[in-house]
C-alpha cells in the first residue's frame, strides 16, 4: 500500500535505501547507457550472458530516488531470465514490482526498461 503522505511506496524506499546490484561488471557482455543530464537521470546497465541467459546484472545511476529504485529493481528482475524473456520486461512491470511510482516519476521506469533493452541490443550486436 502506498502511504498517501509520502512521495514513494515502501518498496521504492527500500530499494532506494539498499539498492541491489550496484556497480559495474568486468568484461560485461552488454552495456546499456541511457538518459541525459538535462532531465537529470543517467543509467548504465551491465549484463553478463551465458547460453542466452542473463546470469548477472549491475547498474550505475545518477538520478532521483525513483531512478535508483527502478535501476535496482530491473537488475533484480532480469537475473536468470533468457534474453527473450528479458526483452518482455516493460516499464510498467518494473513500476508494479515497486508497488507503483508517482505519475511524475513513471519516466524513471521507462528509463530502466530502455537501459535494459539497450544492454541487450549491445549484447546481440556484439554476439553477431
Amino acid at each position: 500500500m502506498r502511504d498517501v503522505w509520502s512521495l514513494y511506496s515502501e518498496k521504492v524506499m527500500e530499494h532506494f535505501k539498499n539498492p541491489r546490484n550496484v556497480g559495474e561488471i568486468e568484461n560485461p557482455d552488454g552495456i546499456g547507457h541511457v538518459g541525459n543530464p538535462v532531465c537529470g537521470d543517467i543509467m548504465e546497465l551491465y549484463i553478463k550472458v551465458n547460453d542466452s541467459t542473463i546470469v548477472d546484472a549491475k547498474f550505475k545511476t545518477f538520478g532521483c530516488g525513483a531512478a535508483i529504485a527502478t535501476s535496482s529493481m530491473v537488475t533484480e528482475m532480469v537475473k536468470g531470465k533468457s534474453i527473450d524473456e528479458a526483452l518482455e520486461i516493460s516499464n510498467r512491470a518494473v513500476a508494479e514490482a515497486l508497488d507503483g511510482l508517482p505519475p511524475i516519476k513513471m519516466h524513471c521506469s521507462v528509463l530502466a526498461e530502455e537501459a535494459l533493452k539497450s544492454a541487450i541490443e549491445d549484447y546481440l550486436a556484439k554476439s553477431k
Partner: protein, 387 residues
C-alpha cells in the same frame, strides 16, 4: 529521531507569540471591518494597527500598504496592476532571469497580452548589472521588476542602484522582497522602489497573508473588484487573523532582526566552509558575501539532488534542491542555469536555509551526515569515472 528543519526559505513555522496574537481574532474580535458596529470597528482597528507596523518596518506610510493573500498575489498585483494601468504610456517591462515564478509567469502572461518583456541575464553570482537595466530602457518602458534577494541561492541584488536608474527615467520599479523583509533592513526610500512584495510566512507569520507596498501616486488597477476594502484596490473581506499575525511577526522581526542576522550569518558561513572542506568537487552557488544571512546553496558534483534530499530526510534533515527531479516541470532550476551551471550541477544542488531554531548542533549534524550520503551516492554514479 529529532528532526532538523533547514528549509526556512520555503516556509517558517508560525511564531508562538504570533499565534497567540492571532487567536482572539478568530473568536472574540470576529467582526467584519466594514461593519459600523463595535465588532466591526474593533476588527478594523486591528487591521490599521498591523498596517502601521508593516509600514514602519520598511519606511513607508500606512496608506501605502495593501494586504494580500501572500507574496505571489503581491507580485501579480504589482505587475499586472501597473502594466494594465499604464498601457497608454508604453508596453515594455524589464525583469531578470532569476526571478521567482510569481514574477516570471506573470510576465509571460503579460507577453501573451501584447506586452514586451526584456529578461536581463545575471553574472556567475546571480547579480544583475544595473548598467544592463539602464541600457534596456526604451521610451516604451513602464515597469522594472527585480527581486531584492533570490530565494534559491540568496544573492542580494543592487536594488538601490537600479532604483536610482528607474527614478531618473521616471519608470515604476517593483521588487519582490519576500525573502528579505524581516530578515535584513529594508527601506523603500533608500531603495527608491515604488512597489515591494512581502509575505508573512517567510518571517514567522501565518501562511495566506502578505502585503504589497505601493508608493503614493503609483498608477495601478485594482487586483480584485468588489467592495471598498483596501482603498478599493483589493476587494474582499479582510483576513483579520492573518493580518494581525503579519503585524505581530513584523513587530517581533523588528526587535530581533539585527542580532538574528548576525547569528545566522555566522552559522551560514560555518556550514558553507564545512561543506566545501569535507566534500570534494563541491561549489557554492550565489554570491559569497552579498547573500541572505540564512542561505546556503551548494552543488555537489556527480550526484543528483533529490536522492541527496531523500537520504537527508531519512536522517531527519529537511532541505531542498534545484534538481528537476523534485519538481513537476522536470527541468532543473532556471536560477542555477542562469548562473551558468551545467544541468548536472543544477541537478546536484542542495539548499539549506537556516532560521530561528537553527543552532551549531544542527549545522554540525549536517556536516557529519552529508559527506557519508554523498560518498554512498557517488559510489553508484556513472558520472564519476569520466572525470
Amino acid at each position: 529521531m529529532k528532526r532538523i528543519y533547514l528549509d526556512y526559505s520555503a516556509t517558517t513555522p508560525t511564531h508562538p507569540e504570533v499565534v497567540k496574537a492571532m487567536l482572539p481574532y478568530f473568536t472574540d474580535v470576529f467582526g467584519n471591518p466594514s461593519s459600523i458596529h463595535s465588532y466591526g470597528q474593533e476588527a478594523k482597528g486591528a487591521i490599521e494597527e498591523a498596517r502601521v507596523k508593516v509600514a514602519d518596518l520598511i519606511g513607508a506610510r500606512g496608506e501605502e500598504i495593501i494586504f494580500t493573500s501572500g507574496g505571489t498575489e503581491a507580485d501579480n498585483f504589482a505587475l499586472k496592476g501597473v502594466a494594465f494601468a499604464n498601457e497608454s504610456k508604453g508596453n515594455h517591462i524589464i525583469t531578470g532571469s532569476i526571478e521567482h515564478h510569481a514574477v516570471i509567469e506573470t510576465c509571460k502572461f503579460l507577453e501573451r497580452r501584447g506586452f514586451l518583456v526584456t529578461c536581463l541575464p545575471v553574472d556567475e553570482y546571480g547579480l544583475i548589472d544595473p548598467g544592463d537595466v539602464k541600457k534596456a530602457i526604451t521610451d516604451k518602458t513602464i515597469l522594472i521588476s527585480v527581486m531584492q534577494a533570490n530565494n534559491e541561492m540568496g544573492t542580494i541584488e543592487p536594488i538601490a542602484e537600479i532604483g536610482r536608474i528607474a527614478r531618473d527615467a521616471g519608470i515604476y520599479f517593483h521588487t519582490d522582497a519576500v525573502q528579505v523583509v524581516g530578515h535584513i533592513p529594508v527601506d523603500v526610500n533608500e531603495l527608491e522602489v515604488d512597489l515591494l512584495s512581502m509575505s508573512a510566512h517567510k518571517l514567522y507569520g501565518p501562511k495566506g497573508v502578505g502585503a504589497l507596498y505601493i508608493r503614493k501616486g503609483t498608477k495601478l488597477i485594482p487586483f480584485m473588484h468588489g467592495g471598498d476594502q483596501e482603498r478599493r484596490r483589493r476587494a474582499s473581506t479582510e483576513n483579520i487573523p492573518g493580518i494581525v499575525g503579519l503585524g505581530k511577526a513584523v513587530e517581533l522581526a523588528r526587535q530581533e532582526m539585527g542580532e538574528e542576522a548576525e547569528r545566522l550569518t555566522y552559522l551560514r558561513d560555518q556550514l558553507i566552509k564545512g561543506l566545501l572542506e569535507r566534500i570534494d568537487h563541491t561549489c557554492l552557488n550565489g554570491h559569497p558575501l552579498k547573500r541572505l544571512p540564512n542561505n546556503v546553496n551548494v552543488s555537489v558534483d556527480f550526484v543528483e539532488g533529490e536522492s541527496m534530499l531523500l537520504n537527508l530526510d531519512l536522517e531527519g534533515i529537511c532541505a531542498s534542491t534545484g534538481s528537476a527531479c523534485s519538481s513537476s516541470s522536470l527541468e532543473p532550476s532556471h536560477v542555477l542555469l542562469a548562473l551558468g551551471l551545467s544541468p548536472e550541477q543544477a541537478h546536484g544542488s542542495l539548499r539549506f536555509s537556516l532560521g530561528k531554531w537553527t543552532g551549531e548542533e544542527e549545522i554540525e549534524r549536517v556536516l557529519e551526515i552529508l559527506p557519508r550520503i554523498v560518498a554512498k551516492l557517488r559510489a553508484m554514479s556513472p558520472l564519476l569515472k569520466s572525470h
